[in-house]
Symmetry: C2
């Protein structure tokens, strides 16, 4: 068997991302897009197994930082949804409405949750009485519903998508602001460290905030076509919602004060999409080790005249050792050819393949193939565990480093639109520019650059004085510009 | 500190179950019923933590038996829902309808899933081509929506409730039937063994089947008021749905055949309700060890003139050991009195409490209190781990045995309605009777006994000949009668 037995069956990812992505979703059996209702997809078993692993990682970090799980209804009475004025303005056009049940018309229309502020906060107002009840930190992992009018794309933009939303209440602005940084830490520990998905952490501009928020922070990652994708957000809501929903507490000094709120959205569907697009190659998906539902696949390589049972036994022995060590491992003894098996597991991104033929059995060796670098190495049988412990770290690190280099190397500071155009043609896709903060300037930039949007200023990044790239006004604000999903 | 410091703050469970239940839901912070939409409740953090543990146990058993996770949309197009005639008849009156989105009317109404056959099976028909694709075993953990016209009660009967639904396809009737027994095994391993919730496994009568099923099996448990509660069902669907949704496979012999289907519903919300009602007492909830979000609470007992830090250190040391052993354990160093703390953790059903005062510190002892028996024992510090390992098993076994004795001792075979009345007055609440199978007889029984319903015949229970308790017709069928939720 040589590597040539496996065909690159997918289009080039860099040249034809969209087609590549659709084919991977189908061939790796991530989602099925044939449900028949626009914007609604089916998570297939393999896709859902990966998703559950992603969810587990985020939930575990949220719980370590003091968040507790809750579950609020999917329906929100129209009157609740309408209570915060900016909020409803932002969402009214996107809401699915339940108007009937059984054979009767409902007295009050019910919205399917587009986000849960107006579901949760009336109840928060009942839960919070005293400063002793604070901070209140709670999250739920649910699907949300938005009647997107833009073109929908599986996992990237759907009318039903999965997310985790955390909704916290604090005594002070300072504590709430600290939470927005903790949220970024959680994102770093999971998205960046475990999934190898780097991101830029930005503060969105005033005109680009979440409806009802005082400040919106976001996590944008880079897709292979140079466009950025928002995979998470944190909002500082101030006391806007707590005033509307009467979330106030009896403070230490005997006075009543409104709670300072944050909410945090982790875009699970989009994170799965990023995982596929960022790490994948022309053989299919490539999964970081910790997130893979199957981490190691053992493939027997039969040879005419050689006892297949001896090979099987050797495979079983390896499997036993690795299961004991806590890995997710399988032997594929089906009648498919090794080549067919390689194709199958490569497409699904299984991080490590172990090949066992007569050579390995007779010489007590193991041949390892790592999916990320597509490299093969043969080692003594007794070195297996140590080698895999190393690979476990190496694979995720390699994926992360590659993705991070890509995002770092595509960012360029430019001081005028001509420069932007020039570097854009040279392949740069994210620009840092001075920006006055004005929405009209943002619109003009977008129109005159063929779609570059103001994504906001980098959190904890230093600025310096300069002139707005559009209007020339003096400013110290530097923002990221990028085309976006 | 003595036990007398804690008041029994709840009404007697046996005498006033309904009030007791409402108070526990509130005081133990399981759910909040003040959401304001009839039949929709909020899972509070502690309730959701328990629920997540229940879900984890069931999902793990489902995965061990070859089921894989999937996720289908919450919306079902009206035309799909209407495809299987009996099915839609059974559910049409209970469906929530989405008719509008944003500012427009939808072309086709969308149902919120009341159950997912008509969402999943059109896609199953695309996934299944050959006998090699079978069996297909998939599950999803989701909320379902039913516009109940009966009175709703938190966790027991809601318009939104949590369940796991598994939908399987097999090559033959035999394989599908075997699945219905595997489903019962899964129920036994989780509900009975881990949660201590016993059940009777019955085959529902023809007139009481799931709409569209050929056979319906159910798991009924016993509540303290003598009424039974259906906490799960398995349906053998035969080829009824596979014919409607065209789920057929190319068989080994070259012919096309329709798949034999089963579906399996695990009523998570009701299982949580059972856990509370069956094991609870007048101090609150009592949780089996494995399901408890917090398994061991350590409470320092300060004494005037004795160094509190010495007590704290001793507590911390115990906590460290128990965390190392994998237990979920906490020290409560807050300023509340020990009595207040006892009350708080007793209400929430924490299985083991460790009390540490000067006596324990000075004599290297530990005082353990087990919540289920409300018994206290003082042991040498070095015996702690072994003692807890024993308690871990004992507590769950004790809860299970008590619940099982209760259900066993309340079942009585009777041959006429006078006997039923007599034994009912003596406290029996489930009766076995000969029954002809006729729906009219079932109706009459219910009317003439003040509400005893035919719950179906016991799976793998032997029968003998007798006369229908209502019409006197000769029959070998024996069914359970009980009042039901």
């Amino acid at each position: 068997m040589t590597e040539r037995d496996i065909e690159e069956s997918l289009p080039d990812k860099e040249k034809n991302l969209s087609e590549w992505y659709s084919m991977v979703l189908e061939k790796a059996e991530i989602v099925d897009i044939r449900y028949g209702v626009k914007g609604f997809i089916v998570y297939m078993p393999y896709g859902m197994e990966i998703m559950k692993n992603i969810i587990r990682l985020f939930e575990s970090e949220l719980e370590k930082t003091g968040h507790r799980p809750v579950l609020f209804p999917v329906v929100i009475p129209e009157s609740n949804l309408r209570k915060e004025e900016e909020h409803v303005k932002g969402f009214a056009g996107q809401v699915f409405w339940i108007t009937h049940a059984g054979y009767s018309k409902l007295e009050e229309k019910l919205a399917l949750r587009p986000t849960s502020e107006t579901a949760m906060y009336p109840i928060y107002s009942l839960w919070i009485k005293s400063y002793k009840d604070l901070p209140l930190k709670a999250y739920q992992t649910v699907a949300v519903y938005r009647y997107e009018t833009k073109a929908t794309r599986p996992l990237l933009r759907g009318r039903e998508f999965l997310w985790i939303e955390a909704h916290n209440v604090f005594r002070s602005r300072e504590e709430a602001y600290k939470q927005t940084l903790e949220d970024a830490d959680i994102f770093k520990r999971v998205s960046y460290e475990k999934l190898g998905i780097p991101f830029i952490h930005v503060k969105r501009e005033e005109f680009d905030k979440f409806p009802g928020a005082e400040d919106t922070f976001a996590f944008d990652t880079l897709m292979p076509d140079g466009r950025v994708l928002q995979i998470g957000t944190t909002h500082y809501l101030g006391t806007k919602f707590s005033k509307v929903f009467d979330i106030k507490f009896h403070d230490v000094d005997g006075k009543y004060r409104y709670g300072h709120q944050t909410c945090y959205g982790i875009g699970l569907s989009r994170i799965l999409a990023s995982l596929i697009m960022i790490h994948g190659d022309s053989y299919g998906m490539v999964l970081p080790f910790d997130i893979a539902p199957l981490q190691i696949i053992i493939i027997p390589i039969p040879k005419t005249g050689y006892d297949l049972n001896k090979i099987f036994e050797y495979c079983d022995d390896i499997q036993r050792e690795l299961i004991d060590k806590g890995y997710k491992v399988k032997v594929d003894k089906s009648e498919k050819t090794p080549g067919e098996k390689y194709y199958y597991y490569d497409m699904r991104g299984i991080p490590i393949r172990i090949e066992v033929g007569p050579f390995e059995v007779d010489n007590r060796r193991v041949t390892l193939f790592r999916r990320d670098l597509r490299m093969r190495v043969t080692i003594p049988r007794e070195d297996l565990f140590n080698k895999i412990e190393r690979l476990r770290v190496d694979i995720t690190e390699n994926l992360r480093r590659k993705a991070e280099d890509k995002i770092k190397n595509t960012i360029k500071y430019v001081s005028n639109l001509d420069e932007l155009k020039k570097y854009s043609e040279e392949g740069f896709s994210i620009f840092k520019v001075h920006f006055c903060g004005n929405e009209e300037c943002a619109e003009r930039i977008k129109n005159e650059t063929g779609g570059f949007e103001v994504r906001g200023s980098g959190v904890s990044e230093d600025g310096f004085n300069g002139e707005c790239i559009m209007c020339g006004k003096e400013t110290s604000k530097i923002v990221y510009l990028a085309k976006a999903y």
